[in-house]
């Protein structure tokens, strides 16, 4: 259950970014999770809510953006979706020399701030 560790890392990174941006609250965190990242989005969502408690992220929503895996064979340049479990042998030449173009992402893509943002203050109502 390393999703708790990962959730804690996301919270720490976003909290650091909040300080840099002068934000006092977080509305939404958008996270890219590759198909082969070894992370279960449902488990991560559960842990995220716990990890946010008592931080500037308290109450923030987590949006997980799934990234499909895509592989490309070096010698014959064919691209394919390896699936799950992944089939990483080239479907054309049967060779072992592929590169994984996408599918192992685990990345904080974007944060939507809420509350006070001094560098971009809300217009007076």
């Amino acid at each position: 259950m390393h999703e708790m560790s990962i959730a804690a890392a996301v919270v720490e990174q976003v909290a650091d970014a909040a300080v840099r941006h002068g934000a006092t609250a977080v509305a939404t965190v958008r996270l890219e999770v590759g198909e082969l990242a070894g992370v279960v989005p449902e488990a991560l969502a559960f842990c995220f809510a716990l990890a946010c408690a008592g931080t500037v992220l308290e109450g923030a929503a987590l949006e997980t953006l799934g990234v499909a895996a895509l592989a490309r064979c070096g010698p014959c340049a064919v691209e394919w979706r390896p699936g799950m479990p992944p089939d990483l042998l080239c479907p054309r030449c049967g060779g072992p020399d592929a590169v994984l173009l996408t599918g192992r992402e685990l990345r904080v893509r974007e944060v939507e701030w809420a509350g006070t943002v001094p560098s971009a203050p809300a217009p007076p109502s």
């Binding site: 992370v39 479990p85 060779g95 994984l100 990345r107």
Partner: protein
């Protein structure tokens, strides 16, 4: 009013940075680390007993660090080989992380060590995504676990630089289908070497040590397809990310960890010198401050 920031930050960046630093520090000392992953009971400790004894017989300086949620049984077993051994009790954490590992090694790892074996927590899920600064990652499967283990745990087997089959003396008794296993390994990790071993009858003993020493002497280990990922867009400033070949340890998802929200920070270690099993236990360590016993001077690696 809301405003958004485009962060594009790898979640596990801190772990990966720490792993890269540890790898370079170990390299400067002439040490390579070998990260051993398997499910519980696959035979990591029995395998290591053989490898440590083989190293001892050949006069090769090696050391081992073994991680478990509880008990020091493994370190006691390994210490009988006469090799420096340290037990890490993770206090519930299901995997090792590079950040904690650096602390454990400081002041403990004997100078001149050529190979440092890292016996990870028995678990094929969580340890798979954490680079520990190893130069050789080995995933074990025993013949009793079924031929489809590599398909069920594609990250653990897909990122292995050597796959090692254990308990082959039982293969006939359990009807192990070697061909099917090899096909499944090739599917998730084409080109990886598969080594067959038995701690019971000695088959393959010393093979892992040889692979590790080869890497220590400069051989380039297998690069799994799963690890051959294009360079992710650097953060925070968007920069074109082309023209750089990632190393085997660079994941598209670099990592960061501090565990502020749960009790992962009380791991502690026990230094097992050979024939000495009298250990003090101190479970009250502060967060992020592992404390190898018997290491009075903190010697940055």
């Amino acid at each position: 009013m809301c405003r958004s920031s485009d962060l594009r930050q790898a979640v596990l960046a801190r772990n990966d940075d720490s792993a890269a630093l540890l790898r370079s520090e170990l390299a400067a000392r002439g040490t390579v680390a070998v990260n051993l992953l398997s499910s519980p009971g696959s035979g990591k400790t029995a395998l290591l007993e053989g490898e440590l004894a083989a190293a001892r017989e050949r006069g090769v300086p090696v050391a081992a660090l073994t991680a478990d949620l509880a008990t020091e049984n493994d370190a006691r077993r390994l210490a009988r080989t006469g090799v420096p051994v340290q037990q890490i009790l993770t206090g519930g954490l299901c995997h090792l992380e590079a950040v904690m590992l650096r602390g454990y090694l400081a002041g403990w790892l004997p100078p001149g060590t050529r190979v440092l074996f890292l016996e990870n927590v028995g678990n094929l899920v969580c340890p798979a995504v954490y680079d520990l600064g190893e130069s050789l990652r080995v995933t074990l499967a025993s013949v009793t676990e079924g031929e489809d283990k590599p398909l069920k745990y594609p990250t653990a087997f897909g990122l292995a630089q050597v796959v090692l089959v254990t308990k082959t003396d039982l293969a006939a008794a359990v009807g192990f289908d070697e061909e099917a296993f090899l096909e499944n390994v090739a599917r998730v990790n084409p080109g990886v070497e598969v080594v067959f071993t038995s701690a019971r009858d000695g088959r393959g003993t010393g093979a892992l040590l040889e692979r590790a020493l080869a890497v220590q002497e400069g051989a380039v280990p297998h690069r799994p397809v799963l690890a051959r990922t294009p360079e992710p867009a650097p953060a925070p400033v968007p920069v074109s990310a082309v023209g750089r070949v990632p190393t085997v340890h660079e994941h598209a998802h670099a990592h960061t960890h501090d565990h502020p929200a749960h009790g992962h920070d009380h791991a502690h270690t026990h230094d097992h010198t050979p024939h000495d099993h009298d250990h003090r236990h101190d479970h009250g360590s502060a967060a992020g401050a592992p404390h190898p016993h018997g290491a009075p001077v903190v010697d940055p690696l």
